[in-house]
């Protein structure tokens, strides 16, 4: 407890990196996931059931397997590892972890957004257009009506990726001061027998999870009202 309160520098570092990696991944997956969810919820097009099946598979995919796939893609012999380009993250960097977490979070954000959008009366689109909305405006109106569900999608995705161990361990490598985040630090410190630090990290993680889940619960209460 003292470690948390005293603001132990190595602990702070780990917390900051965790938030940076998961925060960035969340931003990316929100920007990609919400439009996908909105389109799937509102438009009927050829191949929609297939995309939805893909999405559901993605939502239930074990994160560690996604970590493995990202690892294989980025490794020296992998398809992306051979390309020398600035925008392709190297293995064992925070960027690789961001990539893995984004891949984990996108289906979640998209899936929950789709569910929220499907929950809005389809007649609303018609009403919006009758009042002069362009197709874009009508879509945006529906998203705004589904806003609580969309926020839940984002918060739930954040809860999932910040608590995730396997994928970040694989692609990040848990390097001290570079790619060590809360979850991987807990694993390491426990193995080393540094239970004080491990517990402090664990409590921080629980604290974060608590804040996140309380937010979700409060929002859900508002939805059902």
């Amino acid at each position: 407890m003292g470690l948390i309160l005293s603001g132990d520098p190595s602990l702070t570092e780990v917390v900051v990196l965790s938030l940076r990696v998961s925060g960035t991944a969340l931003l990316i997956s929100t920007l990609i996931g919400i439009p996908i969810g909105a389109v799937l919820g509102l438009r009927r097009f050829v191949g929609r059931p297939f995309v939805m099946a893909l999405l559901y598979t993605g939502m239930g995919f074990p994160p560690v397997v996604i970590g493995l796939l990202v690892y294989l893609f980025l490794s020296r012999s992998g398809p992306l590892g051979q390309i020398e380009a600035g925008w392709i993250p190297r293995l064992f960097t925070p960027e690789a972890m961001i990539l893995a977490q984004s891949v984990i979070a996108i289906p979640l954000v998209a899936g929950f957004t789709m569910a929220a959008v499907l929950g809005v009366d389809p007649q609303l689109q018609l009403q919006a257009r009758a009042l002069g909305a362009t197709p874009w405006q009508a879509t945006f109106t529906t998203l705004a009506e589904a806003r609580v569900g969309v926020i839940i999608a984002i918060v739930a995705a954040f809860g999932r990726i910040i608590a995730e161990v396997g994928a970040v361990m694989l692609v990040g490598g848990n390097i001290d001061g570079r790619t060590r985040v809360l979850t991987t630090a807990v694993v390491l410190e426990t193995r080393k027998g540094n239970f004080d630090l491990a517990i402090a990290l664990g409590i921080t993680l629980i604290g974060l999870a608590f804040v996140i889940n309380t937010t979700v619960l409060l929002l859900q209460r508002q939805v059902s009202r």
């Binding site: 009366d121 007649q123 609303l124 018609l126 009403q127 919006a128 257009r129 009758a130 009042l131 002069g132 909305a133 362009t134 405006q137 109106t141 705004a144 009506e145």
Partner: protein, 243 residues
């Protein structure tokens, strides 16, 4: 009364292989109140959706303000925005009453309509609930919000789909007065779908009877009720139409 605002020719709407509307010819004149009456399921709401260009006719053409649209091309936004519909059920947004009324203005990029919103709310008698969430309103209040957010747009054409169904006399009277006022003071063209023949009689200049997707008779209100040409109109007016 001699410039048709809308002119429909051989308009047909088919859903899933079933023709639900087939109008050989129908005109709506600028500045009139036209009532559409007929039993349930004859295509009244479908016709309103076509008039608001929310759906395209399967066949035939709709001429609006001299421009002919035959269901192939997209109706320009500016033309579509000249008409608006108050639907059978008011679909209010999960926001304040004020935000609901301002919604159409916002869509048009107009963010400074506070005074207009206040005026319109006053008009429908809802100034006291302006900041209440629209989802918590009573049925009559909700329908008045739906009317308010339509008339604030000052449309050329107001399409009303049973605006007073299931309302109490107070709300019916209030809504009818606003409709009449909009028509008289601003020459707003109004197409009113109603089950209530008395309402058609009170408000409309002309009345059209639809049966099974077809126009049976269109006549000035007086003629329609007193000396209808078609036996089915006479039966409908007497209230002993069998459907």
């Amino acid at each position: 009364m001699n410039t048709p605002l809308y002119h429909l020719q051989q308009v047909e709407k088919v859903y899933d292989g079933r023709s639900v509307l087939h109008i050989e010819e129908l005109s709506v004149y600028a500045g009139e109140i036209l009532a559409l009456v007929g039993p349930s399921g004859v295509g009244k709401s479908t016709l309103l959706r076509l008039l608001n260009f929310l759906e395209r006719p399967t066949r035939g053409s709709i001429t609006f303000r001299g421009r002919k649209f035959d269901g192939q091309e997209e109706v320009p936004l500016a033309e579509r925005r000249r008409a608006t519909t108050v639907f059978q059920r008011p679909f209010l947004l999960n926001r304040s009453v004020r935000a609901n009324v301002a919604y159409g203005l916002r869509l048009r990029g107009q963010y400074d309509g506070e005074q207009q919103v206040a005026d319109v709310l006053q008009r429908v008698g809802l100034q006291d609930v302006a900041d209440q969430n629209a989802r918590t309103l009573s049925g009559g209040e909700a329908q008045r919000v739906a009317l308010a957010r339509a008339i604030i747009l000052q449309p050329d054409v107001l399409l009303l789909d049973e605006p007073t169904a299931n309302l109490d006399p107070y709300n019916v009277n209030l809504i009818e007065n606003i409709v009449r006022q909009m028509n008289e003071t601003q020459q707003m063209t109004i197409v009113l779908v109603t089950h209530n023949v008395f309402q058609a009689r009170r408000l409309a200049h002309r009345v059209t009877l639809l049966l099974n997707g077809r126009v049976i008779e269109t006549a000035p209100t007086e003629t329609f009720f007193n000396t209808p040409h078609d036996a089915r109109t006479a039966a409908f007016v007497r209230g002993d139409m069998v459907y």
